[in-house]
């Protein structure tokens, strides 16, 4: 039955810094395994489709894809609730999906259409879903870390039992504002979990070229940390559960997720000048987060190869349908240029490029 307990082991043990790491063993169910597979397959498909849309010029500007890193979102969501907050950088499409955002909202945003989660005004890097406590989608490297600690500040201020997961890359891990925010989070016992998605490159820079100490789980110094296999959704889930408990009791903790991005940094980066094709295919073969779940499902006879292929086909179909719908969605209305500048515009006049031709009263 769907909810029989299956006990599995995480791929590798956790490594702790200033804390006793959780156990490698974790309980799951056939249902959860199937959900992980289905959700990750959908994310993967979404990102691959975004790549094509970019190439056919339906997506413009930056577009940072998440394929390879899906287990981080999936495992995290499995451990927390929608009242726990998440905030991340520009690599945000799948995080949005993980929080319950729809494919249509995603693709429409990527294409700059009205049906987008930010009505086409934000773009690839600026997805939000406030009703599920997803606070974006931020384009400035490192900025989301103090912002995330601020979300945790609000949670603590209101005496909630919720925590905030702040995601950042290995490149961002060197940003000074991270250390400033961490110090305050520790001083004030904020329920802040810093999730370093270490995909080993910040753009074209390998971690060791950007950090004297690339042991990101230790970089909090006086703040505890945990190194986690970020390609293993169960390890991620276990770590996030552990971290949430820790944070509510003791304040901040860092989770370093060892993960990998298959695509280049953004669309202008082929992603193959600073790393070998062998490295990429090696990770695909040995550590792919979806394949790991596929193997578990097959090993436990929960579904067969064909059933899993069908799920992937369904994902493809859902994606294609969402894209078709997104394409039907119109561009934002012209007056949207002047909406949302403020929540409260006081009826002030605002100006277009030619102010004598185009002006508007702010709502």
């Amino acid at each position: 039955d769907d909810s029989t307990t299956i006990t599995i082991e995480t791929s590798v043990p956790f490594t702790g810094h200033n804390c006793e790491p959780p156990s490698r063993s974790i309980d799951t169910t056939p249902k959860e395994l199937m959900t992980f597979f289905t959700d990750m397959a959908l994310m993967r498909r979404m990102e691959i489709a975004a790549d094509s849309l970019y190439k056919s010029k339906l997506i413009r500007g930056f577009c940072h894809l998440y394929d390879g890193q899906e287990a981080v979102s999936i495992g995290m969501e499995a451990a927390i609730t929608k009242k726990d907050c998440i905030i991340t950088a520009y690599r945000d499409h799948c995080i949005f999906l993980g929080r319950g955002g729809t494919l249509l909202e995603s693709f429409a945003e990527l294409m700059g259409r009205q049906a987008g989660c930010s009505r086409g005004k934000g773009g690839s890097m600026h997805f939000y879903k406030k009703d599920a406590c997803f606070f974006g989608g931020h384009g400035i490297v490192g900025a989301q870390v103090p912002l995330g600690c601020g979300l945790a500040f609000a949670q603590k201020y209101r005496k909630e039992d919720h925590v905030t997961f702040t995601m950042y890359g290995d490149g961002a891990a060197n940003q000074g504002q991270l250390f400033e925010a961490l110090n305050m989070a520790a001083l004030w016992d904020l329920p802040a979990i810093l999730v370093c998605e270490n995909n080993h490159y910040g753009m074209g820079t390998a971690e060791w070229r950007a950090a004297k100490s690339p042991a990101y789980y230790k970089r909090g110094d006086y703040v505890p940390g945990l190194k986690v296999d970020g390609m293993d959704a169960f390890a991620v889930k276990q770590a996030c559960k552990f971290a949430k408990e820790h944070a509510l009791k003791n304040g901040p903790i860092i989770l370093e997720m060892d993960t990998y991005r298959y695509h280049g940094h953004s669309m202008s980066d082929p992603g193959s000048t600073y790393r070998t094709r062998d490295e990429i295919s090696g990770v695909r073969q040995e550590r792919d987060p979806i394949e790991r779940i596929r193997k578990l499902i097959l090993a436990h006879d929960i579904a067969n190869e064909k059933e899993l292929k069908d799920i992937e086909k369904l994902a493809r179909k859902e994606v294609d349908e969402a894209i078709a719908k997104a394409k039907e969605s119109p561009m934002p209305d012209e007056p949207e240029l002047f909406t949302n500048v403020y929540r409260k515009g006081y009826g002030v006049e605002s100006f277009g490029a030619d102010r004598k031709e185009l002006r508007a009263t702010l709502p």
């Binding site: 930010s118 925010a181 605002s350």
Partner: protein
Amino acid sequence: KEMTVRDALNSALDEEMAADPNVFIMGEEVGEYQGAYKISKGLLDKYGPERVVDTPITEAGFAGIGVGSAYHGLRPVIEFMTFNFSMQAIDHIINSAAKSNYMSAGQINVPIVFRGPNGPAAGVGAQHSQCYGAWYGSVPGLKVLVPYSSEDARGLLKAAIRDPDPVVFLENELLYGESFPISAEALDSSFCLPIGKAKIEREGTDITITAFSKMVGYALKAAEILEKEGISAEIINLRSIRPLDRATINASVRKTNRLVTVEEGFPQHGVGAEICASVVEDSFAYLDAPVERIAGADVPTPYAANLERSAFPQIEDIVRAAKRVCYRSVPMAATA
């Protein structure tokens, strides 16, 4: 009744904290030290350390934390010990606060106030004397308020805290200790001034002088001198740099046909330049003389008392410019 600007700010904070439990203060020395300039005096005792939060000297960090907390429904009032230090946090003010409501198509509004002393104080040198009015005033998504009197301070700060958008609130250290008459109405806890509206501090017919913050006082003094010479100056206290009250400014210039702008910031791309452009755009035909700008000298701020004095507008500069605009004296450039 009289009240100092310090007390005006302090009472505004106090009342808004009492009215809304989501309002809190955060910054360096705001709590146990009672504020570097004592603006938050007594509030720690009254509201406790959860709502009056002393921070380390890490502006980028605590400004970001403030913005994040505002994303999630709190109403932080972030004190910069002076606005010079806001440059360490400016990315959060611009990219994290000002742009979020727009980028999220209205999902994430950011009810936060960044406040503290701005512009030159006395003898504090080049790194501690900058006016940030023009910079912040250029950014859509921000509101930028510049109180002069105690009434301004109370009414605008209360409005800023209640506002659902990010407000940059630029005070002036040298005004903190100044006393101003204050009405019973302005002392009421419900008192609030409208954001984006300038105030005509003094009516006049011959020339319009715009100013903000400390320079309003200088302009008023200049107007007294000018009156003795038979020139009737209308003094506009901007109160808000963004939104800028173009309507009030233009209406005044259409009446007086002459304009002098006054500010302590650097001249290039300053508030005076914007006001000049606004009037040229909307009221060109009404201008009987070139607009004149009085502004901080186009140099870093020197420490020496004599040079510092030359680096910022003095009352006689305003008087001289006003007379020039009224063609009461011949312009003459001295070369230093």
